[in-house]
Amino acid sequence: MDIELICLLVMLAVFLLANLLLKLPVSVSMILGAIAGALTGGQGIPLRHMFEGTFTYLDTVLIISAAMLFMTVIQESGALEALNAAIVTRFYKVPALMLILLMLMIMFPGMITGSSTAAVLSAGALVAPVLMMIGIPKANTGAIVAMGAIMGMAAPPINIPALLIAGGVDMPYISFEGPLFFITIPCAIVAVLILGLKHCKNLDIEKLKGQLNLEIGKKYGFRLYLPILVLIVLLVVSKLVPSLPQLGTALIFLISSAVGLFTGKRFNVWQKALESMETTIPVLGKLMGVGMFIQVLTLVGARGWIVVSCLSLGTVMLYVFACTIMPGFGAISSYGAASVMGVPFLLVLLQTGGNNDIVLCCMLSFLCCLGDLMPPTALAGNYAAQIVGLKYSPVLKKCVIPFLICLIAGLVCMIFSGSLSFLTA
């Protein structure tokens, strides 16, 4: 048995043991797995590498923290409740259309930032209460938010896994919009209808009105929505008019949160900020643990070993692996999946002939994005569950069917990428 394989198995085993048997947090389990792997690989305890790995996602960590603060602010200021009331009273007559619109709303921040977490924490947090109010069960709501966030992450203009894969093979990130819209929009619509439609066919508006807080919107009026508006404007403007001075996503969230402190109900900012950070620290820890885990995986040569081994498969197995390993790798990190597995997969698939490189790249990135639903990190699922107030397993259970549909859709598009070339024209 190759030493790299032994390292990999040791790392996985220690991680799973620590997490499942010793009930240690995922982040700590990953650290233990990393240490075990480094020792097995003869690298001692490589402090420098472990330290460096945790800093990989520093920018993401900052964005998530800022987005969490924003979410807390709009919740506490009453903006959420008011928005829910407004949406439901306007669209309750056409539930299918309402669902699709809400889904697009969830997707939007993901499309702009390329991050499913940002989508869940901003638009997801706004939409989830509406969905629950119109009668969709908590778990289904969480699943809708998680699926929407992932579709948003995969949808153009910014799809980070696609950018990573394209960058890896020296392919310009051009003409990706067609195939990415082609796969994400239908999948998003199907997902939201499967998960939501049967629960909200016959809406009784009078009954709903009883549950809605119609007062708060009247009391504060339009200014209640200012933080959301500021967020959207700043995010969109920074993408549309890039020549303006750049604030960065984290600062945009912070500015919007600051605005929210003065536009609605007053609350104890310090206390609520602490609370929101407390809920988010486990996820930040996971990101840091993931970084350390992959760095050690690379250091001991296990990453190279995995890639070379997978690439030695036949075409059929390759497709099977693309559909399992790529999203499966998302359990560790979807960006990791794109950069570690995506590039070599694309190279090999291209060699089988008759394929369209851009379509293939898009579909592979789509499969990577689905990885954000994979436990134990399950970034999208995790936060979606937090928003609806559940543990993430019931939410993920509801995601299984739409997830499989997406997987199959992605696979079919990959196999017939040649015939989809028109999308890249």
Partner: protein, 227 residues
């Protein structure tokens, strides 16, 4: 549930790893067009065929070359703007006592001043891009030059020295323009995987010099133009 999914995932990975060990290797089949937009992969996995040149025998000439045909003034130009014309420039530059003009983008009107024209045939997307020339513009220039050369009766040498990677739709089109007027073909042999050039030479009783590597152009130029 969470435990179940984690275990399932781990099982998936282990299964995958186990499967890795016993798979046969794949061999790439599809032959990508070297002129296609983004060449992300090997555009030219070497194609096996019967070659007459080899590591031991770098230059093979089929037929007889009449050196008296190739009088000055001499022009080197490019059809397809690949780097091959500059290779010829360098190679001929190393033959002592030869005066020649090197102009990759020469135009038809200039042809009247030359008695021998060496045309480096082979399209390069990068080269055309660098020169800011579109495919059909290059094709039109080539057509005009060939028409003019028919009038002037200058001797044409068709040099295809870019090898297998230089073959492709546009390259072949350019070669087909030059071949009917050529008095000699110089070919880096790995480009002959479909025997296109040797077959043409045989059918038209044309001398052809096959070379194994680009550096052999120096020897070939010396043989033809050396005093």
């Amino acid at each position: 549930m969470k435990k179940f999914i984690v275990l399932f995932l781990a099982a998936c990975m282990l299964l995958g790893l186990a499967a890795c060990g016993r798979q046969e290797s794949t061999s790439p089949t599809g032959q990508a067009d070297p002129n296609a937009g983004t060449a992300a992969v090997d555009p030219s996995a070497p194609i096996e065929f019967d070659m007459q040149t080899s590591e031991e025998k770098h230059i093979v000439t089929i037929g007889t070359i009449d050196k008296s045909l190739f009088e000055g003034p001499i022009l080197i130009t490019s059809f397809g703007q690949s780097t091959d014309a500059s290779t010829l420039d360098t190679a001929l530059g190393r033959v002592s006592g030869v005066n020649y003009t090197y102009k990759a983008q020469a135009i038809a009107d200039e042809m009247a001043s030359y008695k021998t024209v060496i045309i480096a045939v082979g399209a390069s997307t990068k080269g055309l891009g660098a020169a800011g020339i579109k495919d059909d513009e290059e094709l039109a220039r080539a057509q005009a030059i060939m028409a003019k050369l028919k009038e002037t009766g200058a001797t044409v040498i068709c040099a295809h020295i870019g090898g297998q990677t230089r073959r492709g739709a546009l390259s072949d089109k350019l070669a087909d323009l030059v071949l009917p007027q050529a008095k000699l073909i110089i070919l880096k042999e790995d480009a002959n995987f479909d025997y296109k050039f040797t077959k043409y030479a045989e059918a038209n009783n044309l001398p052809i010099t096959l070379i194994f590597a680009a550096k052999d152009t120096v020897q070939v130029m010396n043989d033809i133009f050396g005093k």
